[in-house]
Amino acid sequence: MSGENHSPLAQFEIKQLIPMEIGSLDASFTNSSLMMVLTVAVISLFLIVGIRKHAHVPDRWQSLTELSYIFVANLMKDTVGTEGRPYFPFIFSIFMFVLVGNMMGMIPYSFTFTSHIAVTFAMAAFIFVGVTLIAIAKHKMHFFTFFMPPGVPMYMAPLLIPIEIISYLSRPISLSVRLFANMLAGHTLLKVFAGFVVSLGFAGVFPLIFIVALTGLEFVIAFLQAFVFTILTCLYLNDALHLH
């Protein structure tokens, strides 16, 4: 990033690349947008090249493509069951987008768009609204019994229903905050320790060693958070498809 700014948070700065305005709305193409476009391009390239040959004995690239497919397919089979099949393309897109976005953010001097709550919350809100609409379309009015657990005495309803509704509404928030906070904290921590390397002089070797280990951990987190985001989406979908 910029040479003069050594703040650990400078890496999260949004920069306008192509200023654009729709009405009074700032819709500029930013470094965040650029990374998202690149992410989609990388995923497309990865998948298209991987399935181009569709050989019976896959080469390395095709194996990777198939592994990512099987991974998400198994995940869905375990959490949603066969009824979730129509939604597989969506879940797979979510997983690949978050995973590749996280991984591209690990490239030095790049930008991690998942470290912005605006991005993760937009995804979580979309998932939340979509899953709720699926549930309403599938169960019609029966969906609203979701907020009134069976076997609860009537006089508890005024207390319980608001609590259940708040609990339901808090889903997109916890979903988005978890991804955003993990990415933000991890990348900030890396930068903070990187600052120690310079300022400690020779003793900076120790933070340097630590950073090497932390970078490895950061890759694990990048994968794990994509996985967690996906599995929670699957669980919400499962709730929508199979009401109690």
Partner: protein
């Protein structure tokens, strides 16, 4: 720090339990599916689905659940107050309800009900409770 992130993946545990109650037929189907899979992919999947849990990770999840429910409750109360012009009262009520919802979220997270709103009547409550106990001891 390391452990903190690793634990996050552990949520696959409770999720798998919550859906196991779908019955023996489903179990049979899934068993067949697993048998049909090639060994390497399924091995990979199994390993990733059960990452080591840890206390810091659990703590992070719990705090996020608590805070998000509290934030939603407060926001609802505040906007109802603005709309109905009822002073601070509805917000005060909804802060308490939001806190209750947060605790409900945490309870579900810990007891293996998954993230479902509403209680899922299940025969696996005992097993879930065991899981929660294991987690607490860990």
């Amino acid at each position: 720090m390391t452990t903190d992130r690793e634990k996050t993946g552990e949520k696959s545990g409770p999720s798998r339990f919550s859906e196991e109650k779908q019955g023996l037929a489903d179990l049979d189907k899934r068993l067949n599916n697993i048998r049909n899979q090639q060994a390497p992919p399924s091995g990979l999947g199994q390993r990733i689905k059960a990452p080591p849990g840890n206390v810091l990770g659990l703590a992070f999840r719990v705090s996020v659940e608590l805070l998000s429910a509290l934030a939603v409750g407060t926001a609802i109360g505040w906007s109802l107050d603005l709309w109905l012009e009822t002073g601070p009262w509805l917000m005060l009520v909804f802060i308490v309800l939001g806190g209750a919802a947060g605790i409900l979220n945490v309870y579900r997270l810990a007891s293996g009900f998954g993230y479902a709103a509403g209680y899922k009547p299940g025969d696996e409550d005992a097993e879930d409770a065991d899981k929660a106990d294991d987690k607490r001891q860990a």
